[in-house]
Symmetry: C2
Subunit: 328 residues, 2 copies
Amino acid sequence: MKRAEVIGYLGRDWERCCARIERALTTDIELLGSINASILEHGGKKLRPMLSLLSARALSSGDGPLSEDSIRYAAAVELLHNATLLHDDVADRSDTRRGAPTVMSLLGGTAAVLVGDFWLVRAVDEVLSAESRRLEVIELFSKTLSDLAEGEMFQLQKAGSDDTTEEDYLRIIYCKTASLFVTSCVAAAKSVDASPQDEEIMRRYAKALGIAFQIQDDILDYAGGDLGKPVGQDLREQKITMPLLGALSSADEKTERRIRAAVRDAADSEEKRSLVLGFVDEFGGLDYARRRLQDYVDEAVGTLSPLRDSQAREHLIALAEYTARRNR
Amino acid sequence: MKRAEVIGYLGRDWERCCARIERALTTDIELLGSINASILEHGGKKLRPMLSLLSARALSSGDGPLSEDSIRYAAAVELLHNATLLHDDVADRSDTRRGAPTVMSLLGGTAAVLVGDFWLVRAVDEVLSAESRRLEVIELFSKTLSDLAEGEMFQLQKAGSDDTTEEDYLRIIYCKTASLFVTSCVAAAKSVDASPQDEEIMRRYAKALGIAFQIQDDILDYAGGDLGKPVGQDLREQKITMPLLGALSSADEKTERRIRAAVRDAADSEEKRSLVLGFVDEFGGLDYARRRLQDYVDEAVGTLSPLRDSQAREHLIALAEYTARRNR
């Protein structure tokens, strides 16, 4: 996927969406305004609104300009996403994100939590201001925020034990990542009054894509990527992710017990982390994770086949394929 | 106001509201469930749902049981209130609240932010599940969350300077406290399909009550109260509140400049705090604040006079009068 190509294809709709996001963050409180501006400046990839706009286009009859509601929902998913990033930064005490200092590190937890709440409210406002004022869309957003909170709490709970299964893992990454992808695509479907069948297609596409996206994130945590983040961060947080689950699935019971015990101590022990990293390498954990990743990518792409042929659909397919290849 | 009397008067409706709050927090994630249970156990005064239920009763034709929607909105304001307390605890790094350790101090920022988000979502769910599904009520809640975030940010901004005026102060406490009181009472009015006039009465009552409530909080920060909190906490956070504003209004320009400069340094200097505390004492800051407080209490009580005579109305009046006398 070439990001510039997608933006070129979306054209004026992309600009409308970015402008909406900016306008939504207007406030007469200077401190808040300057924080918002700084976050926007390091704005990230805006993958979710892109996904939302492409979905709306793919389900529309032409490639013409989208309705205000489609634009509003796309803006709202990005606002919600940033709100949750702000809250995550507080939770994780992160000092940098997207190569820039976090609000958390600059102004402390107070500001980061509150700015997050502010963005959250503005996301809700965007949805509420939609012309058709669809309650189901508010429910979608609310469900996603609930999934995010429940997913993180479940992950936290699991990090305290050592018994994470692949099923637990898939539940966590659905909640943490795929749920917002689903909201991005399904809200878009609702904004163009798509048929229930088409809406279901977008839901399944988004779910598979979101899971694939997170698996790739978790692969990069073992394999390293272009961002130069340190390898093994998930282990430091005692998180058991797909590469480790893959390796564990090939190990005998005794080895599995030993490795799981090592994960429990991995937070403070470089030695335990090395042991686990070596184990994942030896038992083909990355290959396993990459196969599972490809399954989800194939599922996402396959799901789209009943849709009419369109540039938007091609871009959605490319986006899924890119997910498996990205290095950041 | 005797809390037990109000609860006795609300009877079954009070129990229904408490049961709804408890049910709203059900989750199959054990860690989250146990945190929720512990917060409920140290449940606080539940002033806001009380206010909401009394408002619904005062605007109904009889004292009979309230509709499900009235109960839902009352539960939702308490859920929202607790959500914001959780976020405040992270922001303030508070170790105790209501005499119990905070989630923040027990489990760290991660849990507190996320549990806060979870309660927030459950508040939204309560509103969404209302039978009449009033979008204006969602907007009320959304506006309040926005007010809370903007108010805290504005306060933070003002704490960095030394030029807080009474107008700034009133804006901050409207956003921080009165806005949720307004939502409690106005959502209740909407739940009983009150006339626009009655809804406006409840809005004005709640606004005056909320401001009075926060002024009393700020008085207790200077005068001390039953909870044994240390005096002068607001000064440590460089917050200029009503008692200080009152004293400043009687001082000459030179003294005002000197005191405002002292506030700017009050965070780290016991000496500067003593200077300001002495100044507030000498220049009658507490008397001034108590007069302003009484003005708002009188306004709240007066606002209710057009309502039909009822036990609920009497309780609302008593609640306003109690606000000026409470010591905690």
